[in-house]
């Protein structure tokens, strides 16, 4: 009988003592956390993509509460998320323009290969091979899919050795760009219709030897542009989207057809659909 009594007493008292110690400790060692931080964390998408430049969603929420970060940095949540955060913080978030990733290369099967690469299926490993990877063009997409592995949203895919971004799925966190050893991926506004699908800074005469579709830096687009939005910098056409009016003249004039006009494609698609319907 005593045995049972002791057992119950010892365990009961031990439990009670620990309970009181913990209760007391939670008061003494309480760390004040701003309740808004929890709320903001609830609003954020929780993808922990790092697109805001902070370590995960909780890091960003803490930075907002401390007033160290702007409210509209969450690429994944977009304008809707910024609005909710501004409601919690009680300030105006400002307009946020959605941006997406763009692969600036039209290579794929057209890229001339120096040799066949059979090593580890990883762009960084391939780019460390002699001559900066298997591609003749030092700027081209290697197409082994390091960006695909890095994308937390499944928005990028590789077909025929060239990465493609699904603009609807992409949130513009640029995790893919960080994973790309060739820096072939850049951030562009979602509304951008005109894109330059090449990132080669090589001189035209050299580039011509191994690529039939790369930018030669001929400046025809620069002359064609009525609003001064496109310029050739380091032998490569670059668009200033704050000036671009999406008129598509540069795309029409480009001798290598590497300036893409997505409006045109859409119209073409519509025409084809209409033709098929007929």
């Amino acid at each position: 009988m005593n045995n049972i009594l002791y057992a119950v007493l010892v365990l009961g008292i031990l439990g009670a003592v620990f309970g009181f110690v913990l209760a007391y400790a939670s008061k003494v060692f309480a760390v004040e956390v701003d309740p808004r931080q929890e709320e903001i964390l609830g609003v954020l998408p929780g993808a922990n993509c790092g697109g805001c430049g902070f370590p995960g969603c909780s890091g960003y929420a803490a930075a907002i509460v401390e007033g160290k970060a702007p409210l509209n940095r969450c690429a994944a949540g977009g304008a809707e998320c910024a609005k909710k955060i501004s409601a919690i913080m009680g300030v105006d978030a400002g307009e946020i323009e959605k941006s997406v990733a763009l692969v600036r290369c039209s290579g794929g099967p057209n890229v001339t290969k120096k040799y066949e690469y059979l090593g580890i299926k990883d762009c960084l490993s391939a780019s460390r091979m002699p001559g900066g990877g298997p591609n003749e063009c030092p700027y081209a997409c290697i197409g082994l899919g390091s960006c695909v592995a890095a994308c937390p949203f499944g928005a990028i895919s590789v077909t025929d050795g060239l990465a493609h971004v699904d603009r609807e799925k992409c949130v513009g966190c640029m995790a893919c760009a960080a994973a790309c050893p060739k820096n072939v991926i850049v951030k562009v506004p979602y509304s951008a219709d005109i894109t330059v699908a090449c990132s080669s800074k090589e001189k035209g005469a050299v580039l011509r030897k191994y690529c039939d579709i790369g930018c030669l830096g001929c400046k025809i687009c620069e002359k064609a542009c009525p609003s001064g939005a496109i310029h050739v910098v380091d032998n490569l056409a670059v668009i200033d989207y704050s000036k671009c009016t999406s008129c598509g003249l540069c795309a029409q004039k480009c001798p290598r057809k590497l300036i893409r006009d997505s409006k045109l494609n859409r119209e073409n698609d519509i025409d084809e659909n209409a033709a098929q319907a007929e």
């Binding site: 045995n3 002791y6 010892v10 365990l11 620990f18 400790a25 060692f29 309480a30």
Partner: protein
């Protein structure tokens, strides 16, 4: 307590009777948080920390409370209670006093509250009849053994990610095969002796 006795306990806990690879305790974190080297290291340090503390407190509770009342049969229950309360307390204390260490240990500290390696070290201390100093050494070196095993495994798994293995073996299956091979290699230490 002689120095060689301490040394043989330490060597035994780290290599000969490694908690993960020979005793098969704490397999859950071993497989769960060994995908990256730095998370494995964080987990390892948290385990060293908690195993050391658990050894101290469980020895005290056993010696001063359970033995005098002839309640040795309640060791498992009481140890679970002690370890759970201890980890909770340490977590609160660290959050207030040493936020940098709290950040570094992160989620791993509460995770190992119910880790069987931690409970195992406390029970084994009693089973082997270790005194206070021996218990502490056994707890800390057991944690070091855990850390060595998980870091070794994580470094292999980081490379496995890029390995060209058969489709059916990708991911967990090949990791389990690797774990088996590492355990097999650790069996080689079983003949090790300290005079």
């Amino acid at each position: 307590m002689s120095f060689t006795g301490i040394l043989s306990i330490a060597l035994g806990a780290i290599l000969v009777e490694n908690f993960i690879l020979v005793k098969f305790l704490g397999i859950c974190p071993f497989l769960g948080v060994s995908k990256k080297m730095d998370t494995a290291l964080g987990m390892g340090f948290a385990v060293i920390f908690v195993m050391g503390l658990a050894s101290i407190f469980c020895w005290v509770v056993n010696e001063w409370l359970l033995v005098p009342f002839n309640l040795e049969y309640m060791q498992t229950v009481v140890y679970i209670l002690v370890i759970a309360a201890l980890v909770q307390f340490v977590e609160m204390f660290l959050q207030k006093a040493v936020p940098s260490l709290y950040q570094a240990l992160g989620i791993y500290l509460p995770l190992i509250t119910t880790n069987c390696a931690v409970l195992g070290v406390a029970l084994l201390n009693t089973q082997y009849g270790y005194n206070f100093l021996e218990s502490v050494v056994y707890g800390i070196t057991g944690g070091i053994g855990f850390t060595i095993a998980i870091v070794l495994f994580a470094s292999v798994r980081e490379r496995l990610e890029f390995a060209d293995c058969p489709k059916a073996f990708e991911g967990f299956p090949i990791a389990l095969v690797t774990a088996g091979l590492i355990a097999l290699a650790f069996m080689g230490f079983s003949g090790l002796k300290v005079w």
